[in-house]
């Protein structure tokens, strides 16, 4: 990429090809937007160029915080092309004598073709309706002209998360021109020739003087190389731009900036994975010339908990934690946009900022530890949970009771019951610590750390993790970090905390709508489902009972009747269950519908739903065609049986052979254990032949009421075969359609 020189002339399939280079230079654009803006530029340009018959190829985009660059190969001219325009129908285009009519003359004039060039032809092949047509040869325009017309529309097409008025104006008929940040320069070159493009000032709502004109002049780094009197430089081609930028401390290619950062971090002993990999992505778009600086934290801070160090470093300073130094002092890596000499100051400055924050943190940490977690519960009376739902002290007392009561119902040991009651009572106490007031994202974490001083590990762990699970993946925290009694205590406390929140908010009529969920209720609901799916080890809780208990504990502040609240919470959680299954790709959406619509309460034990879904997905993938046929058959059976009252099957009343065969096949399938959904599903799949022949040869709605009743009973028994696993009629079938309708 670094070879300098003008653009090389190339020919492709006999046509001359030119290089188009476009650079939009601006004041620092927000880093998180850049990739998306580059994608927009790429797709918009490609679409416009293709539309304009420029045959764009090798379209590439690059970016830094101060520029977007596009380079592409395009035809030197638009392709010449033949266009057929259609006019009026034959009977209007010709008069009675067979001469062209006034209408046809008008059409020829409009199209700019001589009258004798008009033809009559069918619009569609083989049609007998003739229309007048004009075939026009369009000579392609030079690409420079075409682009000059298209560039304003491309500039205007960008979508920004937030756009700004910068008193600019585009002469494209639409006037005032907003953008993400002010544009400072434009390079637009077709094979080294400038493609004109001008942005004007907007003055008092009208076009003012020219402000930015496209040319061949790009700009290097703001500050490097040191001492340069002019940061600008002229280019003729992309390779000159790329080389010129490289010589001026601008690494244009984001992948190369990331590589440089990665090498820097690894050279400092760090690892670029997980959260650090995210930070590296962000760092790479903050500066044009990334240099990683390494900071060291004095050993006096070494006894701060790792969670505190990481919060200050990662969340507040966007730094990556490095392995500790030889003397045990914590180290970190931060990004700078400096050369090596400047990086020395940058490192010192970063250290200073980090140390100032850690000093605060250490002060808060030491102050907080002067009191036990238990002694803080009363202070929660001063913190409002929600104005209609009382204080956090009330919440703490409620969830403590909820946890104890639920532990009893599901038969947990006395030890766990006591532990969960205490953990729940203390779970919110860190809200009144200095540390959590300063670093709210450490809620839970600090409570767990402070509880260690006086409480057993299981209680401290339950407090530490009770805001989790947050993410939807099965291996997201705290998966794998807890076991035994600590796991059970955590699951209990985390569950009742979330249910208590949902009971309260739903109870006073607050529900999320659209994108608005200010109290995080969807996340709480998802957490409930995840706890029950991934962390619950014993007997599944009866959610209706928990709602009744929670409602009782809220007392008069929740006015909705218990029954209504129970069904509102059920609907809400069912929605979340579906969401979790979809997000995890646990099955296709029709499989999820089929399992959720089985004749079993899905909330009785969500683990069972997951198990049935897994089985359905697996067995169906073995026998896709069979299940498609069964879906049809079950839909049909369901429609026929719907609303009728059916009794037992009377084998003596069978008339057709297919009836007896289907009955025998059903009886055989019924012997497959119902508790093993996979084997039940395979057994049902085996009935498919008999079902098909039954529907082929038997008229269910027979005139004879005895025959009819008996056949309905047989179909109903067929449906019942797997109703406790899944409603197979909900599966998509080739005919159709209505996989999700009900």
């Amino acid at each position: 990429m670094s070879k300098t020189g003008g653009p090389r002339k190339r020919r492709k399939r006999g046509r001359a090809v030119a290089e188009f280079l476009f650079e939009i230079g601006f004041e620092e654009m927000p880093a998180p937007w850049l990739k998306g803006l580059a994608d927009q530029l790429l797709s918009k340009f490609t679409a416009v160029a293709a539309d304009e018959q420029l045959a764009p190829q090798e379209v590439r985009v690059f970016w830094t915080a101060r520029r977007l660059v596009l380079v592409a190969q395009v035809n030197e001219r638009q392709e010449d092309r033949t266009v057929v325009e259609w006019g009026p129908a034959a009977k209007i285009a010709k008069d009675a004598a067979g001469n062209w009519s006034k209408a046809a003359e008008g059409f020829a004039k409009k199209q700019g073709v001589p009258l004798d060039a008009l033809k009559l032809a069918p619009k569609a092949e083989g049609s007998s309706d003739l229309y007048v047509s004009a075939t026009k040869q369009i000579v392609g325009r030079p690409t420079g002209d075409v682009l000059a017309g298209a560039l304003p529309a491309i500039l205007r097409s960008f979508n920004f998360a937030k756009r700004m008025n910068w008193d600019a104006w585009l002469d494209d008929g639409r006037g005032a021109f907003e953008f993400g940040r002010p544009i400072q320069w434009l390079v637009a070159l077709l094979d080294g020739e400038v493609v004109p493009l001008t942005i004007f000032d907007a003055v008092g709502g009208a076009k003012g003087a020219a402000r930015v004109m496209a040319g061949r002049r790009s700009l290097g780094h703001r500050f490097y190389p040191r001492g340069a009197s002019d940061r600008g430089f002229d280019v003729r081609s992309f390779s000159e731009l790329d080389a010129g930028l490289a010589a001026r401390f601008v690494i244009l290619d984001p992948a190369r900036r990331r590589d440089r950062i990665k090498w820097n971090v690894e050279a400092a002993g760090g690892e670029v994975a997980g959260e650090a990999a995210h930070l590296v992505q962000e760092w790479a778009d903050l500066v044009e010339y990334p240099t990683v600086v390494v900071g060291s934290i004095p050993p006096e801070f070494a006894d701060l908990p790792d969670e505190v160090l990481e919060t200050v470093l990662a969340h507040h300073q966007k730094a990556i934690t490095l392995p500790r130094g030889k003397d045990g002092s914590p180290r970190f890596a931060a990004i700078s946009g400096c050369d090596d000499a400047g990086a020395v100051n940058a490192a010192q400055g970063q250290e200073r900022v980090v140390i100032a924050r850690l000093k605060d943190a250490r002060f808060f940490y030491n102050e907080d530890r002067k009191r036990t977690i238990e002694s803080r519960v009363d202070d929660l009376a001063a913190v409002t949970f929600h104005k209609g739902l009382g204080t956090y002290k009330q919440k703490a007392e409620r969830i403590s009771l909820l946890a104890t009561n639920l532990a009893g119902h599901v038969g947990l040991s006395a030890d766990i019951t006591t532990a969960a009651g205490r953990a729940a009572l203390f779970a919110k106490a860190d809200l009144v610590t200095l540390m959590v007031r300063e670093f709210p994202e450490l809620q839970g974490v600090m409570g767990g750390l402070y509880a260690q001083a006086t409480e057993p590990a299981g209680i401290a762990q339950a407090i530490r993790w009770h805001y989790h699970p947050v993410a939807v993946e099965p291996d997201a925290a705290p998966a794998g970090r807890l076991s035994g009694e600590a796991l059970e205590t955590f699951a209990l406390v985390a569950l009742v905390d979330k249910l208590d929140t949902l009971i309260g908010y739903l109870g006073i009529g607050v529900t999320p709508s659209g994108s608005s969920d200010p109290y995080g209720l969807r996340r709480a609901g998802q957490g409930v489902i995840r706890i029950l799916l991934d962390f619950w080890t014993g007997k599944a809780p009866n959610l209706d009972d928990v709602v009744a208990d929670g409602h009782r504990l809220y007392g008069a502040s929740v006015s909705k009747p218990t029954k209504e609240l129970q069904s509102a919470l059920r609907a809400f959680l069912l929605d979340r269950l579906r969401g979790v299954l979809v997000a995890r790709n646990a099955g296709s959406s029709d499989e999820i519908d089929a399992v959720l619509d089985a004749r079993v309460d899905p909330l009785a034990d969500v683990r069972d739903v997951a198990k049935r879904l897994h089985a359905l997905s697996a067995v169906r993938s073995e026998q896709r065609e069979v299940f498609a046929a069964l879906a049809e058959a079950f839909k049909r059976a369901k429609n026929i049986v719907a609303g009728t009252k059916v009794g037992a099957v009377d084998q003596a009343a069978f008339v057709e052979g297919a009836e007896g065969l289907l009955h025998a096949a059903i009886v055989k399938a019924e012997s497959a254990p119902a508790a093993d959904p996979a084997s039940r599903l395979r057994a049902v799949a085996a009935v498919r032949g008999e079902v098909d022949s039954f529907f082929k040869s038997v008229m269910v709605m027979a005139d004879d009421p005895v025959l009819k009743t008996n056949r309905l009973a047989l179909l109903s028994r067929l449906l019942n075969l797997v109703y406790e696993v899944a409603d197979l009629s909900k599966l998509a079938s080739p005919a159709g359609d209505s996989a999700t309708s009900s």
Binding site: E27, E28, P30, A31, P32, K162, M164, N165, W166, D167, R181, P182, Q184, A202, V203, G204, G205, R211, R222, F223, Y224, R226, L286, V287, V293, Q317, A334, S336, G337, C338, D339, A341, G342, A343, N345, A346, Q348, G349, Q350, R352, V353, V354, I355, A356, K359, D360, T384, K387
Partner: protein, 297 residues
């Protein structure tokens, strides 16, 4: 020799004066930020060009720490510059002002990082950056988009320097109170006692009922002025909005208001700030008031 705090102010005054700024004084009222000064809040309205620079002592009662915290104080000082319309080279001008202060950007990590400013109480927002100097935020840089609910045109650039932060950096001090205000005179000597007393007042002693009355009375007076027939009076009304805003800040620090009360008080301030802005525009440029969306009351 690194600059003292007063040396920094003198340097910025002289730098921005050369750029055609009037050098003004901070507003003689208790405000939380230089943006609330009429030289910013009102001058950015309407079509007339304006360039101004001033030091604004900024009171934020909730940030009071009795002088115990090295970074956070009840009252800090901002150097505020308004350039209207924003010149195309405004970032370069700013970087030159850092050079004037002895900060050569090539020797440091100087970065413009996205940080859009918004003041719900003033119905104002803008697009811009925080400027980081070796990881420390030293300046807020904003292209004003709206003030008092009025869409602005032309767009003003606002540059707000955090003077204490810059002084700490230049003098290599980890504690604000160790900064030299003038030669040999520490910030501690000038301000520490004030920090303690003002913190004590706003956290422990401020009379909640009195401040409630001040809040309501100030807003009432502003409203009455705006509704009074006769010649222009929006500047006087704005003074009362500032008083209401400070009363609110004291109540907030004192813990005298609930969350919902807080939201409703902020809304009342905003309504009046917007009404002042609308009156200011209408009085001066009646034809434009319609287009920019200015609305009284």
């Amino acid at each position: 020799m690194s600059l003292t705090l007063q040396g920094i102010i003198a340097t910025l005054n002289s730098f921005w004066e050369k750029q055609g700024c009037l050098i003004q004084l901070g507003v003689d009222a208790e405000v939380g930020a230089g943006t609330m000064h009429p030289e910013t809040f009102l001058r950015v309205l309407g079509p007339e060009p304006w360039r101004v620079g001033y030091v604004q002592p900024s009171r934020r009662p909730t940030d009071g720490r009795y002088g115990d915290n090295p970074n956070r104080v009840y009252k800090h000082h901002q150097y505020q510059v308004i350039l209207k319309p924003a010149p195309a080279n405004v970032q370069d001008l700013y970087l030159d002002s850092l050079r004037a202060l002895g900060i050569e950007p090539a020797d440091h990590d100087v970065r413009f990082e996205e940080d859009n400013w918004e003041s719900p109480a003033l119905g104002a927002w803008g697009i811009g950056w925080q400027v980081l100097l070796d990881g420390q935020e030293i300046t807020q840089f904003t292209y004003f988009q709206q003030a008092g609910g009025v869409n602005l045109s032309p767009i003003s650039a606002e540059i707000t320097y955090g003077l204490e932060r810059i002084a700490m950096y230049l003098q290599d001090k980890a504690d604000m109170f160790d900064v030299e205000w003038g030669a040999g005179v520490l910030y501690r000597k000038v301000r520490h006692e004030e920090e303690f007393e003002l913190s004590r007042y706003s956290f422990e002693l401020a009379d909640v009922d009195l401040h409630m009355k001040l809040f309501d009375g100030s807003l009432g007076e502003a409203k009455r002025l705006l509704e009074t027939a006769g010649p222009r009076v929006s500047l006087a009304a704005y003074d009362w909005v500032l008083r209401a805003s400070h009363a609110f800040n004291v109540l907030d620090a004192r813990g005298g208001i609930s969350v919902t009360q807080r939201a409703s008080m902020l809304l009342q301030i905003r309504k009046l700030a917007c009404a002042v802005a609308a009156a200011y525009v209408e009085d001066r440029w009646p034809a434009e008031a319609k287009e920019t969306g200015a609305r009284r009351g």
